[in-house]
């Protein structure tokens, strides 16, 4: 089948989203007021380590001043990557179609 890989990938992603929607409904019910869910795993690890009384000995040189600025840089990172991937796949694809390759 020509689109087997696409179909499998589609199914996996749909299942992944379904699991998220289900887990989220459970998580939201258990949540105390003002508490935030879906934190980063690394933040959880930091918390776990801090509970032992450990103090980080070095702080980041620069921190994004807000969540918006942080997501800006995350998006920028994804955009740079996506641009490169799209460029080369487009380039190769078009070259192949023209039959010059």
């Amino acid at each position: 089948m020509k689109y087997k890989a696409e179909i499998i990938a589609g199914i996996v992603i749909v299942v992944f989203v379904a699991i998220f929607i289900f887990t989220n409904s459970v998580v939201q019910q258990k949540l105390a007021e003002g508490e935030e869910s879906w934190a980063g795993a690394d933040a959880q690890a930091e918390e776990f380590i801090s509970e032992t009384g450990y103090e980080p000995w070095f702080s980041p040189l620069w921190e994004p001043p807000s969540g918006e600025i942080e997501s800006l840089f995350f998006s920028l990172q994804a955009a740079i990557g996506a641009l490169i991937i799209g460029y080369f796949f487009g380039y190769y694809g078009a070259k192949r179609k023209k039959g010059t390759d």
């Binding site: 992603i13 776990f48 070095f58 980041p60 942080e70 995350f74 080369f88």
Partner: protein
């Protein structure tokens, strides 16, 4: 996690990672000089790490983590080159996002750029030897590259922070619960996406895959027949 690895661990992981980075740079130079036709693929593999490691995804544990995206590069170029690509992403995230960190970068290069990709590469080569279905093989490699990265991270943290009661193993279990468990569904998604991307690479530049010894001409012919 800047500053969260105490001395001597952060120096130790930097020292462990350095030889891999040096070998990676050496291999990169060779590719740039002798395999220029593979350069676009190298760019795509690096870009893949960029995209996937920027996506924080929710997992079954109620927390978020991000895939590593190193599987593709590991299969195409091996573990050493991948360590250099991982370093680039880690520098970006440490400096612009305060994510990861300069002091913890040695440890991160080792888990994300060396341990995960190296195991993935070995598994892929073994699978190729026994003629495992190429896409299944790629899926497993990418899945392991992602998951094993976080197993190693958990181990690195457990080494630095052994629990007062139960010691190393007890804190390894705790960090595994935070990192590795969260990572399982993400690693599955990553594996599927990398396998799909690999299909498109086979579509556009199968010749390079043969040259890089990622696929044999025989396997390639079989895949082409199956796709036709």
């Amino acid at each position: 996690m800047e500053g969260f690895l105490p001395s001597p661990w952060w120096q130790f992981w930097w020292l462990v990672s350095l030889p891999f980075l040096a070998l990676g740079l050496y291999q990169l130079r060779k590719i740039v000089r002798e395999r220029r036709e593979a350069l676009p693929l190298l760019a795509v593999a690096g870009a893949f790490v960029f995209v996937l490691s920027s996506l924080k995804l929710p997992s079954v544990t109620g927390s978020c983590s991000h895939p590593t995206g190193t599987g593709l590069s590991a299969v195409l170029f091996g573990g050493f080159v991948t360590s250099v690509l991982a370093l680039i992403v880690l520098i970006y995230q440490a400096l612009l996002l305060a994510h990861g960190g300069i002091t913890t970068m040695g440890a991160n290069v080792f888990s994300m750029g060396v341990a995960g990709p190296l195991v993935a590469w070995i598994l892929y080569r073994a699978g190729k030897q026994v003629n495992l279905n190429t896409f299944v093989n790629i899926f497993i490699a990418a899945f392991i590259a992602d998951l094993f990265t976080y197993v190693v991270t958990s181990f690195q943290l457990a080494l630095a922070f052994p629990a007062a009661e139960g010691g190393l193993l007890s804190s390894f279990a705790a960090f595994m619960a935070i990192f590795a468990l969260t990572q399982v569904p993400l690693a599955i998604v990553e594996g599927v996406i990398v396998a799909l991307t690999f299909k498109y690479i086979i579509d556009v530049r199968p010749d390079i895959l043969v040259k890089l010894d990622v696929l044999t001409q025989n396997t390639l012919n079989r895949l082409k027949e199956a796709a036709a």
